[in-house]
Symmetry: C2
Subunit: 600 residues, 2 copies
């Protein structure tokens, strides 16, 4: 008697699931002009579609994945769906709240219409090598037919990693507003030349195998050697150098008289053979070609391609992913932000390379959960999301005197860029009170996730890099809230901020404050207090400045031809409570400036 | 009539060269126990071997390279040897000074004994698949036989990139002192698992081709498809993502009706086919296996493997090389340094990936030239090496008051680690006057090359990373010459320095100097002078400190259990000339401390 699966009858597991088949007898026109008489899609769904039919999440799978996202097929099944740790009751994609749907993609070989399935145009033999060329767009058209079949008029979210991420991106571009939210994971708007090259080498391996026979091989036969090599090679690109070292570095060389001299050889051989048993070579050719041709950048640029997008979007990249790199993922967010869309970017440190999105890791699950669980309906739920505490106390906002000042200055609906936004408290406050359109920038993942959980769009990046990507005058306000002193060569960064924002708000601790001077005169060292808490040896580097130095700098900027004027100024005494308008360079502890760009 | 080659009759070109063949009829025993009755090596040599036979440089080629390093074979030859820009009269490897020798490696297919050459054991057919397994060690044994044949008892240098770099490494390990100098470029002491995996996929492609016939194919036949795919894949690993984008990104998609849809496809196809025409599949199998098995790290570690090395060594890595990464190259230097050897590391920013070592780039050529041209015999030659000026003026040293103090403190033959060594002036001076064994650390390539040109061993790296790799008490002195103020959390770094050095010398500008205090009291901002030259907005980040703060920190270190005592102290007034022993925290502009580690 087989042992019962741990995935059965567990309160956080979906348990038994089953495959369904959707058939559309309507002729299905493909991007390249060809037409399929009918299509079938193999799919699975979990959770309940609510009466309003507005709680559906569509999950798009990767190149060699399928529709079996979560759950098990029978009691003794030990291998649940590929995203079982992500999808389930109480999991980040919570089947208690959401109706989750996924189908094997068109052109695939796991039950949906593809080169190996029975000829949809009527003949009994498969189309094999004669199956038409596919595009990512064709795949989502087929998914749309399935979603229509359920009578769903709007998706709560479309989510996918790798090829699935590219589909999710195509979804928000091609059906503006159809998905309220999107999570695009480890994806790209177009393949790098390196990726094209790897795919081409893989296809050459398949086509170079005599058993390929131009794709018209018998069922069960085909280019096994060629496909296996293609898979081995591709598999390397899904992992990272470090990840492989961790896995096979310790016991790297086996007994040289054995079949495999190195442990990684045996692993690759196993991966190759296993893959050949479950995947069709023609599908592999058609799908990788569809990926290679996917190019939303095109001649007009990605910003143009996403101009109609009306979906709140989160893009997640992994630090060690060298197939669809952080840069490629950022390019998607850059375009969305330039086009004025609600988009966030998170970069997760993970050693597993591209395949990190398949791994059970806290920060990744936390990111997904934070993004999906911020509906007003769940606002009062647990304020702990995978270790990232949501601090919603208004006192956090009120105590920040510079926050209050900026709150006074900002007008309703302003566009605001908050550089060094931390946990996003200021933007959350401004969003709720003034309905501003805000973007936070912070390089710490923990802070960025906290922003996402507050519905604050956030770009996890260095400040100067983020600024350099913004269009001229694209924000009403650029805000530096007590962080200029941590920037090297701050002059360049403030100049950039004046290019990007119509107004710049800068709050800083006045280093010229009399207590600092007095202390320095007596002891020759800086004062120690809550603002400067560390001994010399534990300090990070900094570049403190005084009100006088700041004003002199602004004059030099003007003299150098930068058109600006100083607007409102606020000075607070050492307690940061009482205002201070007389001799502020000597008497003020905190200063807040408004700089107005008067460039045309 | 063909146009004459630009490489002919040009004063900086070698011009016409020809191949030679060396035959050894002595039985040649291989590492794996097998024996070849005789071996042949195809080679080329340039320049003149001098009477003392001490000016020979041996160049080891990469996996698919050969002995045709420089020059042309006939007047109309438009393709000179693969390192023609490096080797020639007046070039970095100067054939006016050096006798340059290179041979096709054992197991290769360009004229030396290998699987495709006539059976060295007497039969007429080639050994093909029966050719014995090779090692990198076997290859250099064959090279040694050739060098012996010339009557050369010591090489001036052995130099190689990629597989050639691994051979150069094996040379200095296996024949201690035989090469006076070595340049190891873009190499590794063992393959990463990722590289093993790529090679294995390539070999699977070759062996999976039916035409391979276990290696016993006819001459001119063989696994053309399989070898071509292996080459395509390997070729991708020789380039970088950015480099490929630069080359094929602009015009990436061609007319889809053409033979190749993407320009990179055509390129790879061409590379694959060209390679199959010039390379033997069995050679490719044997050589990649030799590379995969090469492992100087082994069970005892690389430090043990290099313990007998007696060669001045330079290791050069390229920033975008993801095949033999900067880290892998650094590992070689780390081991050499830990074993107390004379070794330097340079990392060159270049977008061409692993193949950067084949590209004509200024900093790379400058590095080679700087390392090779520092013999006393050439000391008075041009002091401009590829834009890097050698400043040899003694005034440079004398004006540095802290240099002078440290010069007083250091004893003859001391081991010295100079953190933030700049151009290496201090170490050069100490080497020449006290015969110290020094290592400089600086993260700037320009500075590091300058050190190399001064015969100062240098490690181009961040200070904390470099320190963390040093053994306990491995230096007599660790020196921070006016750079502690640029370090974040300097306490940790000084603690590390006390672990690594028996004594630490720290010189710093005293921030507590009375002029700073006075200025700050009056204006609330730092003084501007030659020490603090920048306006606030152009400052880099820093962490200035006073004599008082430094001594307080040392007390806290002692209180925390670190065993140290303060040794000699020197204070100079604001002019950095006159000494100042009374009220130094107020009156001194510059302080120099000796800290003695009293840890057992």
């Amino acid at each position: 008697m087989p042992a019962s699966s741990p995935y059965l009858n567990h309160p956080k597991e979906i348990g038994l699931v089953k495959e369904e088949t959707f058939v559309s007898e309507t002729p299905f026109k493909l991007t390249n002009g060809a037409c399929l008489d009918r299509i079938e899609l193999r799919y699975e769904c979990y959770g309940k579609l609510n009466a309003q039919k507005d709680n559906a999440i569509y999950i798009c799978h990767a190149l060699t994945g399928d529709h079996h996202v979560a759950g098990i097929y029978h009691e003794a099944d030990e291998k649940p769906g590929w995203w079982n740790h992500v999808v389930g009751p109480g999991k980040p994609i919570d089947t208690n709240r959401f109706f989750v749907l996924s189908s094997n993609c068109l052109g695939g070989c796991r039950g949906s219409t593809g080169p190996a399935s029975e000829n949809p145009n009527g003949n009994e033999a498969s189309m094999g090598g004669n199956f038409p060329d596919l595009s990512i767009s064709d795949m989502i058209h087929a998914q749309k037919a399935l979603i229509d079949h359920f009578g769903i008029c709007q998706l709560h979210a479309v989510i996918g990693g790798s090829m699935g991420g590219m589909q999710a991106l195509q979804w928000i571009v091609e059906y503006p507003g159809f998905a309220k939210n999107a999570i695009i994971i480890a994806a790209t708007a177009k393949h790098s030349v390196q990726t094209l090259a790897f795919n081409e080498a893989g296809r050459c391996s398949i086509r170079g195998d005599l058993a390929w026979e131009k794709g018209n091989y018998e069922k069960g036969a085909g280019p096994r050697k060629g496909l296996s090599v293609a898979r081995m090679m591709a598999h390397i690109t899904y992992l990272s150098d470090i990840g492989m070292e961790e896995k096979f570095g310790g016991d790297r060389r086996l007994d040289p008289t054995k079949e495999f001299e190195f442990s990684v050889q045996g692993y690759l051989d196993y991966q190759g053979k296993k893959f050949v048993d479950r995947f069709d070579a023609n599908s592999y050719l058609k799908l990788t070609e569809a990926l290679d041709r996917f190019n939303l950048v095109g001649e007009n640029g990605l910003e143009d391609a996403v101009s109609q997008v009306n979906t709140r979007t989160l893009v997640i990249a992994f630090s060690s992913d060298w197939l669809y790199t952080p840069k490629q993922n950022k390019d998607i967010v850059d375009a969305l932000l330039k086009a004025g869309k609600n988009a966030s970017y998170l970069e997760i440190s993970h050693s597993h390379g591209h395949d990190s999105f398949l791994i059970d890791s806290g920060p990744f699950l936390g990111s997904l959960a934070s993004f999906l669980q911020t509906d007003d309906s769940v606002k009062d739920q647990s304020n702990e999301v995978d270790g990232f505490r949501k601090i919603r106390n208004r006192y956090d906002v009120k105590k920040e005197v510079d926050f209050r000042a900026i709150d006074d200055w900002v007008l309703a609906k302003d566009k605001i860029l908050d550089l060094g936004c931390g946990r996003g408290l200021l933007l959350e406050h401004l969003r709720e009170t003034k309905d501003v359109q805000g973007l936070g920038v912070d390089w710490k993942l923990r802070n960025a996730i906290s922003c996402v959980s507050r519905k604050v769009p956030v770009y996890q990046e260095e400040i100067l890099t983020a600024l350099s990507k913004c269009n001229n005058n694209s924000y009403d306000w650029v805000i530096f809230s007590r962080m200029v002193e941590t920037l090297p060569e701050p002059g360049c960064i403030i100049k950039e901020a004046l290019r990007v924002g119509r107004k710049v708000a800068i709050s800083f601790v006045n280093y010229g404050y009399w207590r600092n001077r007095w202390n320095f005169l007596l002891k020759g060292c800086r004062i120690r207090n809550e603002v400067y808490p560390h001994e010399w040896e534990s300090n990070h580097l900094s570049n403190h400045f005084s009100i006088h130095e700041f004003e002199e700098f602004c004059k030099r900027l003007q003299a150098s031809g930068i058109k600006l004027k100083l607007g409102r100024k606020l000075f607070y005494r050492g307690d940061w409570v009482r205002k201070c308008d007389f001799l502020p360079n000597l008497r003020a502890g905190l200063a807040i400036y408004e700089i107005i760009s008067t460039e045309d």
